[in-house]
Symmetry: C2
Subunit: 333 residues, 2 copies
Amino acid sequence: MTVIDVHAHVTAPAELGNYRAGLLASRGGHTRSPLKVSDERIEGSLKAHLTEMTHHQIDLQLISPRPYTVMHWAKPEKIVRWYTEETNNLIARECQLHPNTFKGVCTLPQAPGVSPKFWVDELERCVKDLGFVGVQINPDPAEMGDDSTPAMGDEYWYPLYEKMVELNVPGLVHSAGCQSERLIFHLHFINEESIAIMSLLDSDVFEIFPSLKLVISHGGGAIPYQIGRFMAQWESHDERFDHALRKLYFDTCLYTKRSMELLLDTVGVDRCMFGTEVPGAGSHAHPDTGLPMDDLVPLIKSIDWLTDEDRYKIFEGNARSLYSLGAPVGAMA
Amino acid sequence: MTVIDVHAHVTAPAELGNYRAGLLASRGGHTRSPLKVSDERIEGSLKAHLTEMTHHQIDLQLISPRPYTVMHWAKPEKIVRWYTEETNNLIARECQLHPNTFKGVCTLPQAPGVSPKFWVDELERCVKDLGFVGVQINPDPAEMGDDSTPAMGDEYWYPLYEKMVELNVPGLVHSAGCQSERLIFHLHFINEESIAIMSLLDSDVFEIFPSLKLVISHGGGAIPYQIGRFMAQWESHDERFDHALRKLYFDTCLYTKRSMELLLDTVGVDRCMFGTEVPGAGSHAHPDTGLPMDDLVPLIKSIDWLTDEDRYKIFEGNARSLYSLGAPVGAMA
């Protein structure tokens, strides 16, 4: 079995952060220059990342930008675009250097207030020219949790959904930073996922785009846990809430067994894909065991009510059906 | 055993909503007049509520204002105060009419930007003059989820905490309406609870106010489900996140068994108190069984790993320790 991790972020050399800082300082006042970084520097930055993947028995990762760095809120818009393109290019280089280990998931130049019509060219470039297999969608590009961008059930998003369907690429719903002083971005992720789910399920999106594929990060925010509340509040809809929820896909980025079981049991094994963020939020020792909290292969294997077929679906099968990943490594042509 | 429901909201006759609409229309331009409503009208509005309590085996409810109606955001501030006082007075009348069935939990005139120093007089009035046993705290009085009011770990809230400790009354953390078009108030509740928990645990509040009692609504928003994420991100703190979480209390307003089990197991039976919102968000039929989703006594009784002592704590004991409820009904003097 190939263990496929659908939720991982790029580990980049310091040059990328420096490039970002330069753009924010100059506001794009200089001529655009590309990110300059050697293959050696990239390989150096990946060393610990690759070791951690091996320790965690992960064979293949779909890597996207580190969400908190994407700076969709920055002005002028052109620096959002420049940074987006350079980040995607860096991911493409890591995928070229490690073609059996990484596949690319792009970010888009989601400047708040700009229609997706004007960003989908970057999705097309990443899929057609760079071989990317997915897109990371930021539901709150202003990072304020405010109304400056409509929630994901709104028509505003249709041009993106249209292009995703045309190119047959899934989207990972994952917010970015958080400018509010009331919460950190780690929690903002969770809140935005809940908002995205409820908005999508209360919309016509899946009627208009029946083949749209959306993966909600971090086991779906609060919704699988709070499902009873929303089942009770769903009487005006034709479809039951718990059934509607299965229009979406979910990653397994939850770091405790009881929560993992709740997710798998609530939305169904066929809607869940192995995701870890390794190395990322969960890369810390559990205070009881001293073991890394994001070591999720053993955690999922320890759930005794899963069948071997269930485990295959979670670790590999569902991701292979959803994403265009080609044949398994080592498979006959 | 007396089943005590710590999370319920007042069922009010239409006169209260009409009074509210009048204030919003006149902006307080007329002389203040009290809410006029007869005992008969109040009893009439309570009929279905009391029947539902009986069907759900609930003996005693702590009733607070319906959160989505509290209009803390309204201008001028004086109408917030007028409406707050009249709502609390109505609750007091229901408690007087049914002293063995209802105890009061007040709202405060939390106009955004006004220091709690200027609202705690209403807490004092409700506890000392009206016999209330708790306070409902709205962490987002502007209903925008923005930075206009600091999160609950901030010093801004200290005058409230000081008064709560002085009067020995617990607070139910429960946001109100939601003005954002991206989400409905039912989800805004959940997101605000998560923000409140994380802000409180990342603050000095429980060092400064060690006897402060805070109950987080709806089983703690997203946090018990997402606990692994926050345990991993808590290394800079002296205390483990899962231990810190036990400084708070939680109600059981979750309407599925797996979520209820996750809550009880994650935060501990001693931190959980029976809460239903009956009649409220969960008062709808489960699509499989046709039974009301908020009928939580049988749900909790069906959790086979709970001991009789655990069940006593959840249904009665913990609430009796936390709130000043007097002796059990029928107990010897």
